[in-house]
Symmetry: C2
């Protein structure tokens, strides 16, 4: 059931203050989880309108690099941008876009701890009178392990499934499948960057019978999922010993991560094309990455097992 | 003065056998220069037509990774491909494309030895009767140092200028400028990946008054330039001592190299979109690369001097 349309500023302000709180909570969460490092903050303004706050932790206890960025950007919606972001609204009247959101990527030191990514965002298109003509939520979170621990993948997906179920019976299966189709290095056949999670975009008023305020609640659930979905994985893996071989494979998988973000990722390409601060857009890139030429992994090796785990699978149910 | 148009098969065969010879000579050159490593060869076929031979040296004496690829690919020229490669020929009749060329990237171990890239290629568009309706040469070579040795940049550019002058009085200045505008990470302002060299594309029959056979001679001159332009640089730098700081900055500059190739490079994107063997297309990526968050280099540091050297400058004349 769709909620009554609220004036754009009200929802926009509600989302914006939530994104600010989430930024605080998330950097607090990673500061505790890291056990040693702290975030550096950079505030930036975008020439065309808006800006952001980037917080990056480098050389931490658990994380080699973790970046948590929030931004609120607005400007004129030209046709190529409208096409790029998938806005429905078009026509001859001049339109403006507004987008606010949080994105994070955390690259752990240990190859036994998976890299995690999370993003939530709210887009709004308004006409010259300030009337909202289109609005939607997007986001998701996904896990990129180097070492094959099926129980970690299952734990992550079960937490996502439980959160999704609180909002809509179909969201988990729909957004899990969407994620499996999104984080793919299509230029390498169908190789996925990790074991997935959920991904969603263009959730508009009425999506699955939910209004925008209910979709905001869903986005809030996803934005706050990591303490439940991820922290116990870190706790149980970070002190385990590992060797040079695991570390090297971590660097190779990070190379694939860089490939995905630079060639395919919507958020990265949106940032590159809208004049956001480049160091904030590319803070998702790994601190160190490797490219091996044509590597082959023997059957039964941990590397081959990890590669097999990248094939989509119903982790919440199977394991 | 344009040469008489020869049947497509004749020039095509002439170029193809030259590319094969150049592949032999170039891998021979790097084998000697490396002092220790040897190339592994992979032959591949492209489902749509054609294929290639990749030779990659990893863990060598001088080079951490060096790849020399030759390929000859053909197929149907669809409109999006025609647009992508800048073909002039278009219309309702079905057309075919053929391209053969060599490309190499060599990433040295020592940060005091510059990375080098070279590419030469020949494109031909034919109609269904096999008649050539468009044809051109492209290519270039550029140098990417980590450590600021202005005399190395000057040596490289002087060798290119001398070779260009043998073919046309304007080629060096035109293609040097083109190169300065091509190898740019535009998403990072105007940051160039290295100190340039030459870059050219779409050199068609009659370009600068030269016919296709003379343009082939020019491409051959560029293809064989490295013994003159590059080997003495390697000889005088590779045994010099360096530290962790130089090594780390090398990895950061390699990160920029990966960004350029994945986001902007025509050859890489052409390979990603035409179904060439992915490991051959991406063999240009560095063996190891780093991304520092928002690094700053104090005035007078070698890093700041290197960054200043990336600004376009008339290296052949100035130094």
């Amino acid at each position: 059931m769709a909620s009554p349309v609220s004036p754009p500023t009200e929802l926009r302000e509600q989302v914006s203050s939530w994104v600010e709180r989430l930024h605080e909570e998330t950097t607090g969460f990673f500061t505790v989880l890291d056990r040693g490092g702290s975030f550096r903050e950079d505030r930036w303004e975008r020439p065309g309108g808006g800006g952001g706050v980037s917080r990056v932790l480098t050389g931490g206890g658990t994380y080699e690099k973790a970046g948590v960025n929030r931004s609120a950007v607005e400007g004129v919606l030209d046709p190529s941008l409208a096409h790029r972001i998938g806005a429905r609204a078009a026509g001859i009247e001049p339109l403006n876009f507004f987008v606010t959101g949080l994105s994070l990527v955390a690259h752990p030191r240990s190859p036994l701890v998976p890299t995690v990514h999370l993003n939530v965002r709210y887009f709004e298109i308004t006409n010259s009178s300030g009337k909202r003509v289109d609005a939607w939520f997007g986001g998701g979170t996904d896990l990129t392990p180097t070492y094959p621990f099926p129980e970690d993948a299952a734990h992550f997906h079960r937490a996502l499934e439980a959160e999704c179920r609180r909002h809509h019976p179909d969201f988990y299966s729909r957004f899990k499948t969407w994620c499996d189709h999104y984080f793919v290095n299509t230029h390498r056949g169908e190789e996925r960057r990790g074991i997935g999670g959920i991904f969603f975009d263009h959730l508009r008023d009425g999506e699955g019978g939910l209004g925008l305020s209910q979709l905001l609640e869903f986005a809030q659930g996803v934005g706050g999922i990591l303490p439940e979905a991820y922290s116990s994985i870190v706790e149980r893996r970070r002190d385990l010993p590992f060797g040079e071989r695991e570390r090297h494979f971590q660097l190779v998988r990070r190379g694939r991560y860089a490939e995905f973000n630079l060639v395919h990722d919507r958020g990265t390409l949106f940032g590159l094309h809208t004049g956001a601060r480049i160091e904030s857009v590319l803070m998702s890139l790994p601190p160190l990455a490797a490219w091996d030429y044509s590597p082959e992994y023997p059957a039964g090796s941990f590397e081959a097992e990890l590669m097999a785990m990248l094939e989509p699978r119903d982790w919440a149910a199977d394991f």
